[in-house]
């Protein structure tokens, strides 16, 4: 924590960055919240501990944050993967953001370039964790009716607050299908079909792009397991198209590319 504050102070004093985006204590002891340190004094409020799990890269896409000038971003692994994906999607130029990764030992690593982030991420485990795989397999093995009942019960709690959309670093479109009301694709009210539509749309628009930072499920006030939808699509995209979003800046989004011999067995 001290190392991070010291680093942030040095960066701001030297003028290398204009703002350090990190975490500070939240309003209750269990939570940390995002914090924008813009001068040396404010860096004292920065913290980094187990509570700091939000993906702060989300803020980089906001016009008001872009207007602050060059940022240093305190990154959890999910945020580093997000930076890679932003690069793939031409949303972020190299060297416009300074990533600060905090190691398990509490050291702060400066990653000024995408190449450095890529190298840093190369050492980390990839793909779904065994627990995530198990959870997918468990649901997959349920009979159709039970699977449907499980999701009907989950999605019935959705109030369409779109916190998942706000928290997701890759839901950065300035115009979203949910904001369109002529036609009103997704109704504003919580209704079974609309809830299904919204969650399918969200998952499909992230298919092959989701870097599995977990922010959407963390943000959901109802605790709906929307991350499972991302996981199942990530598993398929990886199995069919070799998609591994978030680990390189190579431009290979699974759904904007194709191969003439993509394999499927279901088309008659």
């Amino acid at each position: 924590m001290e190392a991070l504050q010291k680093k942030a102070r040095a960066l701001l004093e030297a003028g290398t960055v204009k703002v350090v985006i990190g975490y500070t204590a939240g309003t209750d002891v269990e939570r940390a919240r995002a914090f924008f340190a813009r001068n040396a004094e404010q860096t004292q409020q920065l913290i980094f501990d187990a509570r700091c799990c939000q993906n702060l890269a989300t803020y980089l896409m906001k016009p008001e944050v872009k207007a602050l000038g060059k940022a240093a971003l305190v990154c959890v692994p999910g945020a580093l993967r997000t930076l890679m994906q932003y690069a793939v999607e031409n949303q972020l130029a190299d060297e416009t953001v300074l990533a600060l990764a905090v190691t398990d030992a509490g050291e702060v690593v400066e990653l000024p370039k995408f190449a450095a982030v890529e190298e840093y991420l190369a050492k980390m485990p990839r793909g779904l964790t065994p627990e995530q795989q198990q959870e997918l397999d468990r649901i997959d093995k349920l009979p159709l009716e039970e699977r449907w009942a499980f999701w009907a019960a989950e999605l019935a709690r959705c109030v369409k607050c779109y916190a998942c959309r706000a928290a997701c670093p890759l839901c950065y479109c300035s115009r979203c299908i949910t904001d369109v009301n002529q036609p009103q694709w997704v109704p504003v009210a919580s209704d079974p079909l609309g809830n299904l539509e919204w969650n399918v749309v969200r998952a499909m628009h992230l298919a092959g792009r989701c870097v599995d930072c977990g922010s959407c499920a963390d943000a959901c006030p109802e605790g709906i397991r929307i991350d499972l939808l991302n996981h199942v699509l990530a598993r398929e995209a990886s199995a069919h198209f070799g998609a591994e979003p978030g680990y390189s800046t190579r431009k290979d989004y699974a759904l904007s590319a194709y191969k003439p011999d993509d394999k499927e067995e279901f088309i008659r």
């Binding site: 209704d191 079909l193 699509l233 198209f241 499927e264």
Partner: protein, 149 residues
Amino acid sequence: MAEFEPKVVAFVCNWCTYAGADLTGTSRIKYSPNVRMIRLPCTGRIDFMLLLQAFGQGADGVIVSGCHPGDCHYTAGNFHARRRWILFRRLIEFMGIDLRRVHFAWVSAAEGAKWAELVTNVVDEVRKLGPYQSFPKRLDGQPKPVEVA
């Protein structure tokens, strides 16, 4: 009570399947009248939302049909569509939507007979499954509120 007649919505490509279905008619081939065809420019244009909305408006089955790989009028629309449907099918299967009600096909403008056979097969299959009652509906265009337990 009369036998259940399923409603099947077919989202088809303007350049092949729609013309193929025309050929079915001009060839005087009989096929099931339960299908409602919706013509779109390309399978690459068919949003998965349309499928969900079809079910929401009372369809019991859905067909998506376009050009064979390599035959796309826009070069690659069907290749993109194919990737999308691979993922989409898996997602809705995971969510418990019955894949026996969602069908994909390549039907060219010369395959009138194939179209007739496809529609008849799908309609027969969906007829056996019965109406898709478990799918939430929005029949009058108005959303039905969630029932709070």
